[in-house]
Structure formats: C-alpha cells, structure tokens
C-alpha cells in the first residue's frame, strides 16, 4: 500500500515516539496535526504532554527545544515554514549549532527542527523560499533535505536518533507524493548520498524536490541518446563528496540543480569543491540550475518565470554534453 510523504513522515514520528520516551514533538498547532497534517493523531496516541502546541514564538520554542535537548529530551520541533526560521536564527545558529563545541563536548543538542520549504503555487515571497544554504554555512548543524516519501521516512528516523542538531527540510510540493515503503528497508545513513539513477554521460547533482525534476530530465535526454546519472544528496551538511566524486570521475560532466537561487547556494559550494579537487576530471564547465534571482512571486505566470524545472535541467545537460 502506498503512502504519501506526509503519511510516512507521520509514521516515522509515531514510531520514534513509541520507541524512545525522550522524543517529544512541539510547535505551532502540532497537537492539532500541524498546518500540513503531518502530526495528525499523534497527540491523541502519545498524549498531550509529548505532542505540544506552542504559541507563535519561533525564537522561544527553538530555545526551549535546545534547552530540553541539553537535559535529556529529544525534541522534534516543527517550524511551519522555513521562511519563519528567520525568527529562530539566533537560537539555531548561536546556540543549537555551537553548544557541543562551546562546552568542550560536555553537552549535546539531539534535536530535529522539521520545516518545509519551496514553492508550490501562489504561496508568494514569504512562504516559498529555499533557504538551506544559510544553514550549511554554520558548523555544528546537520542539514537534511529528503526527496521522496520513503527517503523522508528513513532520514527522519535517522535524524531523530543522530544526537546532533538537524535542520530537516521537507518540500511542500512533495507532500502529496505517494510511494510504497518496502519491508525491511535499511535506514539511510546521514551523510551518505544515493545514486537515484545510474548513467554514464553526465552527473546531475541535486536534492529535495528537484530530484524528481532531474529524473524526468534524465528520461527526456535518454531519448536523445544521453545517459544522465542523478545523485540525490539527501544531506547538505555533511556533503557526501565521495559519492559525487565517484560519479564525476565516470561522467566528467556536471550539472548541479536546486530550487534555491544560485547565488551563494549549495551548487556554488559543490562546484567550488569539484573545481578544486577534480579539475582534471572535468570535460565541460560545471553548470548550475537554480531559481532566478528574485523573491518568489505570487501570480502563477510570474512564479513559473523564476522557478527552475525539468526543462532547465534538460538544457543544462544538453549544454554540458555538447
């Protein structure tokens, strides 16, 4: 039986709540199911003490979760939109990320901040952003961006058990996607990318919702005789450069695709590393696909005009292989 991205996130939370009494959920409306219904029914099943509604106080609830994590809880905090993480940045950047380090290893912050990002039609400039690159700039944070329902399930379970603060970025466009959870599926390792599709002519490095676009693009260029390998990074910190390098040494051509703008983005980081470490392996300039450098607009025509998609990846692959 297939389940949606939302249902498999809920299943992961439900299982971890059952397995470990230290796991607690908190956030705005989470006891009522959350804005997207991810936590629906969990307060009824696990109790209102473990699945708790909070005021609209992102700064305080991020601090609350961090303080509780220092003292033995494993809080899973929901920040409804990544756009609102701006309000929690002091805590995430100055406290959560640095506590283990500043304390000389005496303390840890085993906390997951679940949030969702990306554009999905008309949510406009303050509910559609992809801000992940802000967080990969901060040592001490782990950044996870799952691309499918099954990936979301496994990576969320791993994130809750990890022991370091994790920013877990879901994508609202993936929420209704369905997939069947295979029996006895091993959970993915945090920090290990996956080859979503094998190929030999070009490597498309991507994550989150753009993995789907890259797979579509790979199908299209296959009809034109081009074999694209698609790498789903899964985690943006740490970056699995081993898996990336193995692919690039096979294909010698690289396209990096993400929904975030290119300026200062994850793609810039990967491109710099590849240029530094595998310069001699590259047969073509590295190409980046990303959002146009504008706030996400409201009107669908405008939104489509800035967002990257399958066609952009196809063009980039064709250019890289020209």
């Amino acid at each position: 039986m297939s389940q949606t991205y939302i249902e498999l996130l809920r299943r992961a939370l439900d299982e971890e709540l059952s397995l470990d009494p230290a796991v607690h959920l908190l956030g705005e409306d989470v006891a009522a199911g959350g804005a997207f219904g991810v936590t629906k029914g969990l307060a009824q099943k696990h109790g209102a003490r473990r699945v708790r509604n909070t005021p609209i106080s992102e700064a305080a609830i991020a601090g609350l979760a961090t303080g509780a994590a220092l003292c033995g809880l494993r809080p899973v905090l929901e920040i409804m939109f990544i756009d609102f993480a701006t309000l929690a940045l002091d805590c995430l950047v100055n406290q959560s990320a640095k506590y283990r380090y500043m304390s000389g290893g005496q303390l840890a912050v085993p906390m997951v901040v679940r949030t969702q990002a990306g554009a999905a039609g008309g949510a406009a400039a303050q509910h559609s952003q992809s801000l992940e690159s802000w967080f990969i700039h901060v040592p001490g944070l782990v950044v996870v961006a799952p691309s499918s329902p099954v990936e979301a399930y496994g990576l969320l379970k791993r994130s809750i058990r990890l022991g370091d603060p994790v920013l877990f970025i879901e994508h609202k466009r993936l929420y209704a996607l369905r997939e069947e959870l295979p029996a006895n599926l091993p959970l993915p390792d945090i920090g290990r990318a996956r080859v979503a599709r094998a190929g030999c002519d070009v490597t498309v490095i991507t994550y989150s919702a753009m993995v789907g676009s890259a797979l579509e693009a790979a199908d299209i260029v296959a009809g034109q005789g081009l074999s694209a390998e698609v790498i789903d990074l899964r985690t943006l910190t740490p970056l699995d450069m081993q898996t990336v390098a193995a692919s690039v040494m096979k294909t010698h051509r690289v396209v990096i695709a993400h929904e975030a703008v290119r300026n200062g983005g994850v793609g810039a980081e990967i491109a710099a590393r590849l240029a530094g470490e595998l310069f001699d392996e590259l047969d073509a300039p590295i190409t980046r696909v990303g959002c146009r450098f504008a706030p996400i607009p409201f009107a669908p025509e405008l939104e489509r005009a800035v967002l990257p998609g399958t066609a952009d990846i196809v063009r980039a692959v064709q250019a890289a292989c020209a």
Binding site: H24, R49, R50, R52, T54, P55, S57, A59, A60, I61, A62, G63, L64, A65, T66, G67, A68, A69, L70, C71, G72, L73, P75, D90, C91, N94, Q95, Y99, R100, Y101, M102, S103, G104, G105, Q106, L107, A108, P139, G140, V142, L162, G163, D164, D189, I190, G191, T237, P238, L239, D240, M241
Partner: protein, 337 residues
C-alpha cells in the same frame, strides 16, 4: 528590608560562609580584571563586581542537579554554584585545562556535572534554554529546577516576553533572576525602557514575582528562598528582580564616560560586601575574623590564577573536535571543513 535574623535564617556560620562567597567572587573578578588588563584574556571580559550578593543569595538555594544558565556577565554565578575557580580561570585564559578546553571562554562557561549548563553572549538567548531545561525536568519527572540570570537589558528583547509567556503556559519550574543594574551596556534604563520595573512585566502573564535589594545579601537570600521553594513546589515560574549596581564597566576597559563621578561614588557606597560586613559586625562577629575571610578569598584566587596559568595551552589539534558528536559526521570531511 529584612533583618539578618529572620524566617529561614541559616545561622551565623552560614552567613559567614556566604560572606566569604561574596569575597571569592570579588577576588575572582579582580584577578580577571588584572589578567585582562595584562592581555592574558583573549577577547572580552565582563565583570560582575558589585553584583555579588545576587549570585550568592540565589545560588545558596541550588543543588548540583539544578540547571543554571547565565549571561556574558556570569563568572559570579558559576562560582557561586560551586564550580572550580581554577578550571574557570583556565578557561577564561584559554587553557586546555579549562572547563571547556578553551572552546568557550569567559562568555561561555559550562560545567555540566555541576549543573552549569551555559552562558550566552547574545543577550536574552539564555532565557528559553532555561525554560527548555525546566521542561525536560518536568517531562522526565525530575525534581530539579532551572535558574537563569539576565540583566534588565534583556527585557528589551522579544524573546524575554515569548519565554515568560511559554513558561507560565506550561507551568515550567524555572526561576528568572533579573539583575537590574540600571544599564543595558552603556545605555541607562530610562533610555531603553518605558516600563519602570522589570517585575511589572510579570503581571500581564500572571507570573509570581518580587523585587528585592540585590545588594543586600540577606534580603536576596530570603527572597530567593521563597522563590526557589515556590518553583520547586510546582507552582510555575517566578521572576525575581534584584536591584543592583555594576561597579565596573560593561567590559574590562570600558571607561564609563556615560556615568558621572557622583553616580560611581554612590554605587561604591552601596557595596554589598561592605553592607554584609556591617551586618555581621552588628551581630558581634569580630572585625579581624571578617578581614581574615576576605584575605583568604584573595589568597585563594591568587593561587587559582597561578594554577590556571600552569595549565597547558589549548591544543590546536582539538580545534576541530566537538563540532559534531555522531562518529559518521566527525569522519566526513564535508562536515567539518
């Protein structure tokens, strides 16, 4: 103001011990000032000189299992909680023998086994952490409480109000101790807030609160006794506003041009150590005994500096340690660089 002998009076020997604690903080901060002036303290040093009675009066009611969070002006709190002066000084001068192996410094002292869970250099950032520690204690059925020290300047931050609201809503066992020294860094309270007292912020949230003369050790002791007992009883959070004075500047090297000579003289006249000394003299404790207590503290801290200096410098090989805990992340070159 309460007399020394009152309900819950801990007895003369305990008062003398607490008097010694005031002196230990004063002497500790004196050493930090000297070290900073000599260039031995990397970065900034913020002294709590003049505010000792708040630290001592509150921490007298805390056990090791109680969580303490402090601010950039936190040396006194950590010392009063019972942490080792040598390990604190070693941290403040950046030695590998410091509490945090030189990873934290003056503004980020942590001594987890002693319940000192951290100090934050971002004003107000410690408040929700303390509430979180209190939530963990509540959720795990522990008797421990959480205490956070902050200045009146922190009430200018929205996070103060967010945290108070949440703490009352969830009835968290957290004690908010405001050291109202009348200054947000260089800016006086009159210039940074239209609300006269910090205690007043408790009312709309329905939080129990009190204001006390923070330079009067017995008064702080008694107020903190009531506050901690109430928080321990499960009655929810409490705000204790302690009116005090910063005898030193915002940081070592601050010339305090924004304070008049008269103001500084008045602050010196309110010295909590002198006040406690007069109280103890009034209880027929010999002047020589009180002087000896002060001298012992000064000797202890001089020795603590010598011990701290003897520690090995921070080890550059440790610079990439403690960024992550998970083994897979430590090993991944992408995680740390």
């Amino acid at each position: 103001m309460r007399a020394v002998i009152d309900t819950g009076d801990p007895g003369l020997e305990e008062w003398k011990r607490l008097f010694g604690q005031l002196w230990r903080i004063r002497a500790f901060e004196g050493q930090v000032q000297t070290l900073a002036a000599a260039g031995e303290v990397p970065g900034f040093a913020h002294l709590s000189t003049g505010q000792e009675a708040v630290a001592v009066g509150v921490c007298a009611h805390l056990g090791r299992e109680d969580a303490l969070f402090t601010s950039h002006r936190g040396h006194g709190h950590v010392l009063a909680k019972g942490s080792d002066a040598r390990a604190m000084l070693a941290e403040i001068i950046g030695r590998s023998t410091g509490l945090c192996q030189g990873h934290g410094g003056s503004m980020h002292l942590v001594d987890a086994p002693n319940g000192v869970l951290g100090a934050t250099g971002v004003v107000g950032g410690n408040l929700p952490l303390a509430a979180g520690a209190a939530w963990a204690a509540q959720a795990r059925g522990k008797a421990a409480i959480s205490v956070v020290f902050f200045g009146d300047g922190a009430t200018g931050a929205g996070i103060f109000h967010e945290t108070v609201n949440l703490s009352v809503l969830w009835q968290l066992p957290v004690l908010f101790v405001c050291e109202n020294n009348g200054y947000a860094e260089f800016t006086s309270r009159e210039e940074h807030s239209t609300v006269g007292s910090v205690r007043a912020f408790a009312d709309p949230y329905g939080m129990a609160a009190a204001t006390v003369d923070g330079n009067d050790l017995p008064a702080v002791f008694e107020a903190a006794r009531e506050a901690t007992a109430r928080v321990r009883s499960g009655a929810g959070p409490y705000l204790l506003e302690c009116m005090t004075h910063r005898m030193a500047g915002h940081y070592v090297g601050d010339a305090q041009h924004y304070r008049s000579r008269e103001e500084l003289a008045a602050v010196t006249a309110k010295c909590p150590i002198e006040r406690m000394k007069r109280r103890l003299l009034g209880l027929a404790v010999a002047r020589e005994e009180l002087d000896a207590i002060g001298e012992a503290a000064i000797r202890e801290m001089a020795q603590a500096v010598a011990d701290a200096r003897a520690g090995a410098p921070a080890d550059p090989r440790m610079a990439l340690c403690h960024v992550y805990g998970a083994p897979a992340l430590q090993a991944n070159p992408g995680a740390g660089e």
